[in-house]
């Protein structure tokens, strides 16, 4: 996984609440067996019309937001399905950070596994950042995970919170499985205990 330390880039304003995973990537694009290549289908129904032509009014179809690396949205971002195709599509498009007042749980977890940083900030601050983002290409926003601050174009710094474990994994680009396997002896011991205590759980064979 690509580490996430500091990112300075263009932020796209998406002032919508309840952006569900079917909106981020509709089910018909889930037939891939790869993690890459989903960026063209990101926000498919918002981005393209029935004929497949771009809707010029949609933010990611406009300059400079075609190059956005940060997305700022409203409440309950990522609700719906567990599909990791949603963060894969964001990442493939180039988005490395999503800022919103809150996120649906599964989506939130899936972001971290893919080197995307989801940041929860109060609604008023999201709205202020959306105003910054509307200024376009000269108004870059910086996200500094080391110091846990978002830096507005004005230089104002906004602190944010993130779990230690997740912050560490992102900063170092660590893969969860590798970390968990360091605990293999505990897993072995648990399984032995469980075989004794919960022997009623049958094997599926």
């Amino acid at each position: 996984m690509q580490p996430f330390t500091t990112l300075t880039g263009i932020a796209a304003p998406l002032p919508l609440a309840n952006v569900d995973t079917d909106k981020i990537i509709p089910a018909r694009f889930l037939k891939t067996i790869k993690r890459t290549g989903l960026g063209v289908h990101l926000f498919d129904t918002l981005r393209y019309d029935e004929t497949g032509a771009e809707r010029p009014e949609f933010v990611l179809n406009r300059e400079p937001y075609r190059h956005a690396e940060i997305l700022i949205a409203h409440e309950n971002f990522g609700c719906g399905s567990s599909r990791e195709h949603a963060p894969w599509a964001l990442l493939d498009f180039g988005i490395r950070c999503v800022i919103a007042p809150d996120f649906a749980d599964i989506f939130h977890g899936n972001c971290f596994k893919n080197g995307i940083l989801p940041i929860r900030l109060p609604r008023e601050i999201c709205d202020a950042l959306i105003e910054d983002a509307r200024l376009g290409g000269n108004a870059r926003i910086t996200v500094d995970l080391q110091r846990q601050v978002v830096v507005r174009p004005s230089g104002e710094e906004i602190p944010f919170q993130i779990d230690d474990f997740r912050r560490h994994s992102l900063l170092e680009g660590l893969d969860d499985i590798g970390q968990t396997l360091q605990h293999a002896p505990s897993i072995d011991a648990y399984e032995q205990r469980q075989t004794a205590d919960h022997s009623w759980v049958p094997a599926i064979v």
Binding site: N18, K23, K31, R83, G109, D176, I177, S186
Partner: protein, 471 residues
């Protein structure tokens, strides 16, 4: 035990699965059951292969195909669509290479992953169950801790049989009193979502309790837990009781004999302790519930069938008003229009929410002696091959076919636009599934969520209808 603080059902199942607690409170949680399907697993198996890892516990894993497959009677001939075919073939190669038990498409036990787990006795009380699918919450009806995970987590479970998780908060939803005639588990859960909203359970595990929940059979409990995710909660749980034990008894993979008796003795210790702490409590009066139907494009936009389409002009909050207007535009509804006047084109009865035998019986009861309205296409899709066999043994297929319904093979079907069963743009569907998002059942399709009996009533009426008039 003296000194132990009272614990909830969730706390008990959680505590008994913690392998290790990391310094920041993240837990390594042991997973008893891992269900796998074709859509969210290919990249996980690929990850294992690239890292040279094995599946740690194939004997705790079960794979099935459900999302991508056709539900037409000629499906034995193979999958026409190349991408869907590749995804199914990839799963078949992966289960063979990694030694994972698998129900292939032509196996009678094949079906929607959340239908077959409980049906086979693979989902059991007090266990942890995961699947790369958000409706894994369904299995919580047995008193399991069951939740959906992303593909990276699927790979993590395959490799380690554990997950890194922070404990969720506890939320209690108590449904007191008796459900009125004509109302079902689906109406309960739609009413709950209408009350707490689609983010009402975020960060929480919901425990459903109260007289109306206790009175539900296992199918109804699964319907309720299934839609926990639509209420924002990753998992829903119901304490196991005699109904649960009777359901588990005799299921193919469930413990038997003395092992079952030991298990039941343990399961009896699971219900939340007196005085256990809940971070949030919501109380709902069952007697006030009516048959429900959604009018908008998220499940909280729901009203009793007797209501009219709401008017955005009456909404003081500017943002909410705009959101409502957008929903009405998409759904092509007019404020003040009676919901029971809304004409429909398609009816879909099935999905992991309502694809069990009890659901098909409820639909057949309304369909019997009536006929699907002119111009309406009505699909009935059993949740599994076993459900289909059972329904046919009871003659339900004949009743439905005679009434003009289609009787199909098991799968996810029209719940999501991923297989040949799809809405075309502008089509309006009365659906027993769980999501009414824009385009969920096919691009431009319009979805009204409701119970199986309500769906059958809509099919024979040609418009949304109050099932209580069909008694």
């Amino acid at each position: 035990m003296a000194g132990t603080p009272p614990r909830t059902l969730f706390d008990k199942v959680w505590d008994s699965h913690v392998v290790e607690t990391l310094p920041d409170g993240t837990c390594l949680l042991y997973i008893d059951r891992h269900l796998v399907h074709e859509v969210t697993s290919p990249q996980a198996f690929e990850g294992l292969r690239m890292a040279g890892r094995k599946v740690r516990r194939p004997d705790a894993t079960l794979a099935v195909v459900d999302h991508n497959i056709a539900t037409s009677s000629d499906r034995a001939a193979g999958i026409a669509e190349p991408e869907s075919r590749l995804q199914v073939e990839t799963l078949e190669q992966n289960v063979a290479a990694f030694g994972v038990p698998y129900f292939p498409i032509l196996d009678a036990r094949q079906g929607i992953v959340h239908i077959i787990g409980p049906e086979q006795g693979i989902s059991l009380p007090a266990t942890t169950i995961v699947c790369g699918d958000s409706h894994t919450s369904t299995h919580g009806a047995l008193g399991a801790l069951a939740f959906g995970i992303g593909t990276s987590e699927v790979e993590h479970v395959l490799a380690t049989q554990t997950l890194l998780q922070k404990p969720a908060k506890n939320m209690l939803v108590r449904v007191d009193g008796k459900l009125p005639l004509g109302c079902t588990a689906k109406d309960i859960v739609l009413a709950i979502i209408g009350t707490i909203g689609t983010a009402g359970g975020t960060g929480h595990v919901i425990e459903y309790a109260g007289e109306a929940i206790r009175a539900l059979d296992m199918a109804g409990r699964m319907t309720v837990c299934n839609m926990s995710i639509e209420a924002g909660a990753r998992a829903g749980m119901i304490a196991p009781d005699e109904t649960t034990f009777a359901y588990v008894r005799g299921k193919p993979y469930a413990p038997k004999g003395e092992a079952l008796e030991r298990a039941i003795a343990y399961w009896r210790t699971l219900p939340s302790d007196e005085g256990a702490h809940y971070d949030k409590t919501v109380i709902i009066d069952a007697a006030a519930i009516a048959p429900m139907v959604t009018w908008g494009t998220n499940p909280e936009a729901v009203l009793p069938i007797t209501a009219t389409v709401p008017d955005p002009a009456a909404e003081p909050d500017v943002e909410k008003r705009a959101r409502m207007q957008r929903m009405l535009d998409y759904m092509a509804l007019t404020p003040g229009q009676k919901l029971s006047d809304v004409p429909i084109d398609v009816v879909f009865i099935g999905s992991c929410t309502n694809g069990r035998i009890e659901d098909i019986r409820a639909a057949a009861k309304v369909a019997q002696g009536r006929h699907v309205a002119d111009g309406v296409r009505a699909l009935v899709v059993p949740g599994s091959g076993i459900v289909k066999q059972q329904a046919e043994a009871e003659g339900l297929d004949r009743i439905l076919l005679d009434a003009g319904f289609e009787w199909r093979e098991a799968g996810c079907s029209m719940c999501l636009g991923m297989n040949p069963d799809k809405l075309t743009p502008g089509q309006r569907c009365a659906s027993t599934s769980n999501r009414n998002f824009e385009g969920r059942q096919g691009p431009g399709g319009r979805t009204h969520l409701l119970s199986p009996a309500m769906a059958a009533a809509a099919a024979v009426s040609g418009h949304l209808a109050d099932v209580r008039e069909f008694a």
